[in-house]
Amino acid sequence: MNATVIGKPIKRREDERFLRGQGRYVDDLRFPGETHAYFLRSPHAHARIRSIDTSAALAAPGVLAVFTGEDLKADNVGSLPCGWLITDVNGEPMKEPPHPPLAQGKVRYVGDHVAVVIAESYLQAKDAAELIEVDYEELPAVTETARALAPDAPKVHDEFADNCCYVWEIGDKAATDTAFERAKHITRLELVNNRLIPNAIEPRAAIALYSPGEDRYTLYTTSQNPHVIRLLMCAFVLGLPEHKVRVVAPDVGGGFGSKIFHYAEEAVLTWASRKVGRPIRWTAERSEAFLSDAHGRDHVTTAELALDEQGQFLGMRVRTTANLGAYLSTFSTCVPTILYATLLAGQYKTPHIHCQVTGVFTHTAPVDAYRGAGRPEATYVVERLVEQAARELGLSPSEIRRRNFIPKEAFPYSTPVGLTYDTGDYEATLNRAEELADVAGFAQRRQEAAKRGKLRGLGYATYIEACGLAPSQIAGSLGARAGLYESGEVRLHPTGKVTVFTGSHSHGQGHETTFAQVVADRLGVPIEDVEIVHGDTDRVPFGMGTYGSRSIAVGGAALMKALDKIIDKSKKIAAHMLEAAEADIEFDNGVFRVVGTDRQVTIGEVAFAAYVPHNYPLEEIEPGLNETAFYDPSNFTYPAGSYICEVEIDPETGKVEIASFTAVDDFGNVINPMIVEGQVHGGLAQGIGQALLENCVYDPDSGQLVTGSYMDYTMPRADDLPSFQIDMHGTPCTHNPLGVKGCGAAGAIGAPAAVMNAVLDALRPLGVTHLDMPATPHRVWQAIQQAKQQQAA
């Protein structure tokens, strides 16, 4: 490897345009003749649509069209598909209700799409939407996860017997039950994993254009995976030929999962662009984003850990009810199953694990992947249990973990929940975290805080993540309805400059820099000579996109394969140019050389020869230097880490402050440590946000979203967070060419449990033993009051 680019904190190449205000986000694009769409959304959580009268809206100034679900139906527009089939324990497929892009007959959550108005200006469209008369018959609704299966719960979909989408399980139940019978100690917790709203700062947006001359559609959309959107929209919703549709995701202002999914607006705009005959643009207002972006998490769980007298884990039993919302979003079904329960082994050699997950429908926005997607929920269950068990057994949080870690000599290690971890060194990351966090000095800091009337606590969490989604065959056997490989194309131009096309998509991750580092290193060309192209179905061969920390592990590996092909072909060309045998050509740092001689050609000269083949073995090799590769991983990658959080609580107000946060991660090899650290920071902020601040709340009676704006949904702000202490200890991944594991979700996975364990550690002297996220001042204060009352009684 070329040590000057790989592993170096190269400054980001995309920054210049963002810092100058020259980014090209969807809402920044302008097209001649464009019109504006406004979506009328349901004000009710559950209602029958008796009738919709659009005549007044149609007559309003500037209005070009008004469409409802009936118009889509008449045009045979299909249902927004779900990409993952979960099979019920009874062997039946999950319940899969239709998800029309505009409601038909019923609305099922506040914010459900009812109609779209297209007008000359946005204000005209919005004004006209107020003139649409919808006659609703309001119906009772259920929004709470734990109440969805109550006998009296209103049904979300009339065609099913109840609100159960599936009951799914993993692990050996009998063996796990036996382990519990042998246990000396059982730790049991009831946990709520709070519902979150992703809140990328760029709201979703889309612009659709139809070109009658070419009979071609173009959709600009805020997507993490434009090819997937094109595929789903063409094949399942609109029935359009895929080659007649171009989907572009230009600069995208953050995703965190919420921009993976195929949303109603994308399909409706694309469909309507042909009807209206002019470009149509739409940008969500933030309040629409709160209502209609897919939400995250929302589990209710009972978890038990069986231990022997030494604190060794014997078994784990988990029962989770997961809220899927009113309709099945693109990946919704696999998040609380495949991406959750398979991670319940954590970093531990727990021999028997059984988990049962019930996915339920409610009258709420669809729930789908949000940063970490299932893995934060799993880590939260495991790490709350482990720390609680340590308390109950009188072991330190460090000691109980060390007694149960999978030792580093045990890799590859197969867990009882279906995964095989390739590498790791959990002791090493924990050692480093304890050192960085100065755990030894904690007792003194706690005393000092007590003198100031403050409660100080220390909490641990270790996590494992399965990312680099995914071996397609495994994913397919688990219900995935698509492959999960990635593509990469490398094009050397005649002048030796390089354009790279990747199916990964950057929406903050810095691929334009990291991927260029990979290419510059492998080809030995200056990084300035490499351009990364992503996010355009007309330019990139294919792509599954960016989510689940998969870009470098899968997209990067695809690039490496394409680069190998480039070098293989170049060697043949170089051999011809140097009049040597191909076997005698070595390649290093951009130069092809005949082994043991000073005869050489540069890769630029080879590229020129390939495009100007005057002296070229045309009978053996095609001209040109352009290679494409698809890479399908053989296993997931397994980033892991140890996090330690220290908090200080004001017992008078209940306010929790993060005094320090230490994260030591194993991401395998790291291409750009600056970017990787940035990913950790962001993940930590979201994880701390979940633990202390963020909570999506629906009113249980009305089904209205109570936390529908930044006035009530608490986003982490700069003064809610500390600066973080971060380090890495990498054990390279064994099965991809870069030895990388992925880093995008880590912080959000490990942080919630570390924070909550610290909060409970601080409150334990007051008699508080349990608290659900988020640990807001109000909740902490209430917990303290309850503990006081219990102790007084």
């Binding site: 107000t653 209940g654 306010k655 930044y710 009530d712 949904y713 608490t714 986003m715 109000h778 209430q782």
Partner: protein, 267 residues
């Protein structure tokens, strides 16, 4: 936003005249609350009368034992004013904690108190310091100005010109922010002057209110512990997602003690 007519008069008389002649007009001060209400279509005025071109409504001056602040004076100006910091540091601190930096650069004293948001900071400052609100028509004591949730004694067409704050011997303002909006979940202004002690609470109830029991106790002994055992009844306090009425009642006590401490420290 719904459609409206926009006016930017260059005299006070014109501003008042415009409001009187239009159907359902509103004065626009800094607009930091009003603009968002308009954007979310929560308000539908026929006319907006922008007070931004009336420099006579801005400014901070001392008149004898009073600090006089013009209605259009921005929060940031109050927070940064040496005159305010020297004469009523608690008021400067209050202004420095309103909203966020950008809001403080636009938001105004007059706009804040005319809106009388139950969780705004300025009403506690005005009531706690026993200020007088000077309008285009008359002078209103703080005790009669704030009449209910988003309600004041202002008559239609009446415009706030300035607020006169008597300079107290000492005062302190402490707020506990609602985590999401950063408005006051509870905010308490405590002020001691020759006229006695005043304790004003914002955020906790539907409208800013005084706590006579605390005032009496502090008049006897201006120390935090003087408030021990004094409880504000939770019955009429706000109860919402972010805080129960009981928690708010508790916070009133905690913050009142901290405000006294701040007053004693001269902060």
């Amino acid at each position: 936003m719904y459609a409206f007519n926009y006016h930017r008069p260059d005299s006070l008389e014109a501003a008042i005249g415009l409001l009187r002649t239009c159907e359902d007009g509103l004065f626009l001060a800094g607009g930091q609350t009003l603009l968002q209400s308009l954007r979310q279509r929560l308000a539908q005025p026929s006319d907006l009368i922008d007070l931004g071109a009336l420099p006579e409504l801005s400014g901070i001056r001392r008149e004898g034992d009073q600090l006089v602040i013009g209605a259009m004076t921005r929060h940031a100006e109050v927070a940064a004013s040496d005159l305010v910091r020297q004469s009523i540091p608690a008021l400067a601190a209050l202004a420095a904690g309103i909203g966020d930096a950008q809001v403080r650069n636009m938001g105004t004293l007059g706009g804040s108190i005319a809106n009388n948001d139950p969780a705004a900071d300025y009403p506690a400052g005005v009531l706690g310091l026993g200020a007088t609100v000077v309008t285009s028509e008359r002078e209103l004591a703080a005790d009669e100005f704030f009449t209910g949730m988003f309600e004041t004694a202002l008559e239609p067409g009446e415009l706030i010109r300035e607020v006169r704050f008597p300079i107290p011997r000492r005062a302190g303002y402490v707020k506990f922010a609602q985590p999401a909006s950063r408005y006051a979940l509870v905010g308490v202004m405590v002020a001691e002057s020759a006229a006695g002690v005043r304790v004003a609470v914002t955020g906790a109830g539907p409208c800013v209110f005084r706590v006579p029991a605390m005032e009496q106790a502090l008049a006897q002994d201006f120390q935090p512990q003087a408030l021990d055992g004094i409880e504000v009844p939770a019955d009429e306090l706000n109860d919402d997602l972010h805080a129960s009425a009981e928690y708010r009642a508790h916070l009133v006590g905690v913050l009142a003690r901290r405000a006294v401490k701040a007053a004693l420290a001269g902060l």
